[in-house]
């Protein structure tokens, strides 16, 4: 089993044996008798607490100095699900896949549970009791030396409380220096704005105002800190009824979510974006007609759309590109209309990581306090941070996991999870968000505020400090209101006037394609992973198993090649290749992906962790790492891309755990697919739609029997492909809501992943600029469901309200229903995928389960239920109050979190309900309707808005 299932704490033999032992014990304990449960009431039940019901708290999580405002559901005082904060001006109830997955870390057995001191190679568990007095004494000495040799390495943070402590630190320890490091920082953006305006400014896009949106390697809907808001605004501007629908132009080297949504996309090498922009500016300035129809038509449109266009640039682009974009936006009169500027925190006076490393090597650092982050893993490779740490007599690392850095430091201090912490942070628009704990720390963990507070002998405890910094002089009532909302109302940053400075950008020489494809001339682009980001989420099995939106890859990464590039270099999909940058080499898997710029190879960061944990890899326990560590090739001078890459095929093959079978790419498979996709995931151009709005629907066939007329409620769903950007938020929401298990790499390769909602991704059209189609697929709850009639024991049948009920406890597992399901949305428990969590010693992990959803046993079928537990709860609640549930009162997990509101659930029988209206829309169509199974889910066609001049050129 252990070799078959790969999931937390089932991987290592030792734990596997524990599991076995425990299950034996369990069996013997109750024998052939019912297991009697115990009921443990409170001594004094807190006011307003009703056992077995959920309550919600607003809080927030910070990532790279930007807050995500969240609403966390707590059951009996246990946080079980993370959703977006509906009140927050930016997030508006949506939450990204990664913020939702954070709940898993809270109960992760690897999430650090105690202090560890390394001493002469051995490591010893310690307690705060031991640590505190000793540390106080030590800091007293440091203070006596005015903090000489004290360095604090922190992740960039927007916390006011932290900032106040930092100033206090400066007073107490004038000699101490503050260092900030973050592998995927906004350095280029800031440098760009300094070049353009002479000051650090932050761009606040206002997409609702934009008619022409140009993204230069800018993933506005994917990795952008305000992606949720951007995506929502974008979706709103794409509605067919929009008078002037937005057109999205994307120029990038590798397909991003934004690129996938683009109307016009140009695959360009990363380094060629600067020349492209220069040419564009020249053309806009009325210069000579530039080369390329694309640029030509783009320029024309930009001119036509003065004041209604926006050129956005991604963080990977050099300062010059940002500056140019600022200038063009200003000249086109977009500034102030389609984008605003707000103050950006200026890291001036903050020490560079490189400098710190040099100091450490020189032995100038005596005490290094690392607040979060994982520099040993993600610092530029040439710094040799691990080696540098050896010269530091006392290095403390406060972190969630005992990761690479912790193991290289003298002390590892467990860091409290965001849901255990008091704190504050600011979202992209500057809104001040609060962080309040959902539960007392499950293990003795501390927050950076607490540790730093100890260092600079702060008087106030964390909550008081936060209150003092965030809302000084607020009354208790006001403070409660702030905590209730989760943020300070109207605290968004004020837009600032930015005066353009004059600057010039030298044009680099563009290269010829043939040359690009030569070894040593290739470019390697480092991009943060869409799921694991910079690697901090590497031990999160949900994110590891959520297929990447574009590559559909789980459990690992691979170097992405364009077909031409691969052909030219003799590289094949699912093989190992050797990447060589100067003296550094790295063997990685290779994959071929449409839409990749030729000569440009993209490698996602965040994989190949050697000390992430039992999920992400842990060398000490011989748990193999997952994926390949791109940081080994990433040096300070080439943090974003390296231009002189050599690629050598090794001929070794490597299995990639992809959820869509690459066998689709065999010739007949592909031919069939291209034929079908037009039918299944429909896309039309806006022009066509305006000409002739109705999408051809399958005419209902004559039925052999008279179908029963359903009276009363008829649950149904509508999914708008025009809004879906494939961000995976729904997938994570479902995973958390429905206790969907993680099965591990081997099982995914076997095609046994369990996700209840999957997002099908199809490429059509030319290899270089493919049209990407996303199609979220849940159980369609067909009116005459094929799965039902074939079940011999009636374990799946139809409810009066039209739900296709799946009764786990009746299922004997013949799997016939799944065979007969044309959508293949049914999932079978080939093993007991919950085994490890049912085992003794996993009491904390179990706290994650949603108590309202049954955990499926080995050997039973499962599938999307339209979140029936939510339906029932809402119905009972409404009926107790003597009314029927209102439209929108029942919200499925996927619908709740969808940033673009692409998913709508409700009662089809009520003609006024949103879902009913969407079903009636002319874009609506049912998948495989010709089978006469009557799916309850209607899809709405995607409408693209290509530039007329480029349309046929697109082919």
């Amino acid at each position: 089993m252990s070799s078959l299932i790969r999931e937390p704490s089932d991987v290592s033999r030792r734990r596997f044996l524990q599991v076995m032992g425990a299950s034996m014990a369990l069996a013997s304990a109750s024998g052939c008798h019912w297991e009697t449960e115990e009921i443990l009431p409170f001594q004094r039940r807190p006011e307003g607490r009703v056992p077995g019901t959920t309550r919600r708290f607003a809080t927030s999580i910070e990532c790279s100095g930007v807050a995500a405002s969240l609403l966390v559901t707590s059951y009996d005082g246990r946080p079980i699900k993370i959703e977006g904060n509906p009140l927050h001006p930016l997030d508006r109830g949506a939450a990204s896949a990664r913020s939702q997955a954070a709940i898993l870390d809270l109960y992760d057995p690897d999430h650090s549970r105690g202090l560890v001191q390394a001493f002469e190679g051995a490591s010893y568990p310690r307690s705060w009791k031991e640590f505190d007095p000793w540390f106080a004494g030590h800091m007293a000495q440091v203070r006596a030396r005015k903090g000489a040799g004290l360095r604090i390495l922190s992740e960039p943070s927007s916390s006011l409380a932290l900032a106040s402590l930092r100033t206090r630190l400066a007073e107490l320890h004038p000699q101490a220096r503050w260092v900030e490091w973050e592998p995927c920082a906004r350095t280029n953006k800031i440098a760009g704005s300094k070049l353009a305006f002479g000051r650090a400014l932050r761009v606040q896009p206002r997409i609702e105002q934009v008619n022409t949106l140009v993204c230069l390697d800018a993933d506005l809907f994917g990795l952008h800190p305000a992606a949720l808001a951007n995506a929502r605004a974008f979706a709103a501007r794409r509605r067919p009824e929009e008078a002037q629908p937005l057109r999205l132009w994307v120029v990038e080297s590798s397909l991003s979510l934004t690129g996938a949504a683009a109307d016009q996309r140009l695959a360009l090498r990363d380094e060629q974006i600067l020349p492209f922009l220069l040419a564009l500016e020249a053309r806009l300035a009325g210069g000579k007609a530039a080369d390329g129809l694309f640029l030509e038509s783009l320029a024309d449109e930009l001119l036509a759309q003065r004041g209604a266009a926006l050129i956005a640039v991604g963080p990977r682009q050099p300062a010059a590109v940002h500056a140019l974009a600022h200038r063009i936006n200003a000249n086109l009169g977009n500034t102030g209309k389609t984008l605003l500027y707000s103050e950006e925190s200026d890291p001036a006076g903050v020490m560079e990581l490189g400098e710190l490393a040099r100091e450490m090597e020189a032995g100038a650092v005596e005490t290094l306090v690392v607040l979060g982050g994982n520099p040993v893993y993600d610092a530029p490779c040439e710094l040799e941070f691990r080696r540098a740490l050896r010269h530091v007599p006392l290095a403390l690392h406060l972190s969630h996991y005992r990761d690479e850095t912790s193991r290289a430091c003298t002390w590892h201090l467990p860091r409290a999870h965001a849901l255990e912490s008091w704190g504050d942070c600011a979202s992209w628009d500057g809104t001040r968000c609060l962080q309040q704990p959902l539960i007392d720390p499950i293990f003795p963990r501390r927050t950076p505020l607490e540790l730093l507070g100890a260092i600079c002998e702060a008087k106030l405890g964390a909550p008081e400090l936060v209150r003092a910094c965030v809302a000084p002089g607020a009354s208790d009532e006001q403070w409660k209101k702030i905590l209730h909302d989760g943020f300070v109302e109207g605290s968004a940053a004020r837009p600032v006037e930015a005066a353009l400075a004059s600057f010039s950008v030298p044009a680099p020489a563009p290269r010829a394609l043939a040359k690009e494809l030569r070894n040593g001339e290739l470019e390697l682009v480092f991009a943060p992973d869409r799921n694991l980001y910079d690697g901090r989420s590497a031990n999160n099995s949900w994110l590891q198993e959520t297929p990447d939106a574009i590559t559909k890859m789980t459990w690992g990464n691979a170097a992405i090649f364009a077909a031409e590039t691969a052909a030219a270099l003799g590289v094949e999909d699912s093989t190992l290749v050797k990447l060589k940058l100067g003296t550094r080499e790295l063997e990685v898997a290779a994959t071929v992906l449409p839409g990749q710029a030729t000569g440009s190879i993209t490698l996602h960061l965040g994989h190949g962790r050697s000390a992430a944990g039992l999920v992400g890899g842990l060398e000490q326990e011989n748990i193999e790492t997952v994926g390949f560590d791109a940081y080994r090739l990433r040096s300070s001078d080439a943090l974003d891309r390296a231009g002189s890459l050599e690629v050598m095929p090794t001929g070794k093959s490597w299995q990639l755990a992809r959820t869509t079978d690459p066998a689709v790419t065999d010739s007949i498979g592909r031919k069939q697919m291209e034929g079908l996709v037009e039918e299944l995931a429909r896309v039309r151009t806006l022009a066509d739609f305006r000409k002739e709005p109705g999408s051809e629907r399958e005419s209902e066939h004559e039925s052999l029997w008279n179908k029963p007329v359903a009276e009363g409620v008829r649950w149904g769903m509508a999914i708008d492909l025009n809004s879906c950007i494939g961000c995976n938020a729904c997938a994570l929401a479902c995973q958390a809501e429905n206790n969907v298990p993680v099965v591990g790499r081997e099982q995914v390769i076997r095609g046994r992943e369990m996700s209840w909602i999957r997002i099908d991704r199809y490429f059509t059209g030319p290899e270089r600029s493919p049209r990407v189609r996303f199609q979220p697929l849940t159980c369609q709850h067909c009116e005459s469901a094929p799965c039902e009639e074939v079940c011999p024991v009636a374990a799946t049948m139809h409810s009066a309200e039209g739900l296709n009920d799946m009764v786990y406890n009746r299922c004997i597992g013949t799997r016939y229903c799944a065979n007969n399901c044309p959508f293949k949305v049914r999932r079978f428990n080939y093993f007991n995928y919950h085994k490890a969590i049912e085992a003794e010693g996993a009491e904390v992990q179990r706290m994650l389960y949603n108590p309202e959803v049954t955990i499926r046993h080995r050997g039973v079928m499962e599938k999307c239920t339209f979140c029936v537990q939510r339906i029932q709860a809402a119905k009972i609640h409404a009926k107790n109050e003597g009314r029927a549930p209102a439209d929108g009162e029942i919200v499925t997990a996927c619908q709740q979190t969808c940033p673009t509101q692409a998913i709508v659930f409700g009662d089809l029988a009520d003609p006024k309900s949103r879902v009913a209206r969407l079903h009636a829309e002319s874009r609506g169509y049912a998948m495989l309707a010709e089978l006469n199974i009557g799916p309850r889910t209607t899809y709405l066609e995607k409408l693209v808005n290509p530039h007329p001049a480029l349309e046929e050129h697109d082919g």
Partner: protein, 214 residues
Amino acid sequence: MNVFPRWMNALRVLAGASVLAAGVYVVALFAYGGSPKTINAGFSPEQPVPFSHALHAGELGLDCRYCHTTVEIAARAAIPPTETCMNCHLRIRTQSELLKPVFDSWASGEPVHWKRVHDLPDYVYFDHSAHVTRGVGCVTCHGRIDTMERVRQEQPLSMGWCLDCHRNPAPNLRPPEFATAMDWQPERPAAEVGAEIMQQRHLKPSTDCSTCHR
């Protein structure tokens, strides 16, 4: 030369008959012995505190909701916190040995470890509020709690048993205000009363799978 004794021929009928009989008997035995009435009903575990519903709900006439406060608003009729016991026992029976676990819990904050008596399989989702507020009396499923010294499971609580009522609820319905009244008796035939209530409140209990299984 016969190998088999002559009486073998006499045996055939007898043997055939007894094989049939045995078959019938075994089936009957399983049906009777395996029925939840035999296996589940009558379960009555020892509790850490010999709390007598007969005294509190019976003699003293405490309403069920005095302790089980959540029964009308939530799925679970929660077992009361120690505090509820202490409402009275702070001043009554303060020396009682039997109450020691309660006093300990009150002093230390540790919980009293009650044993669950009415325990459905975990894939069954029963909601008290949905039943009590529709007029299904406590007594219907729990029996005359107010006469029990120690709580026992009165009913089989099997799926079939639930279905019987969901298919024909009328006989088990009463005006919701009497839900907690243990000794309530309809003055007219129960079915009639129930039928009226069903009509007034448009009750049509569902027998869909997802009503109880999720």
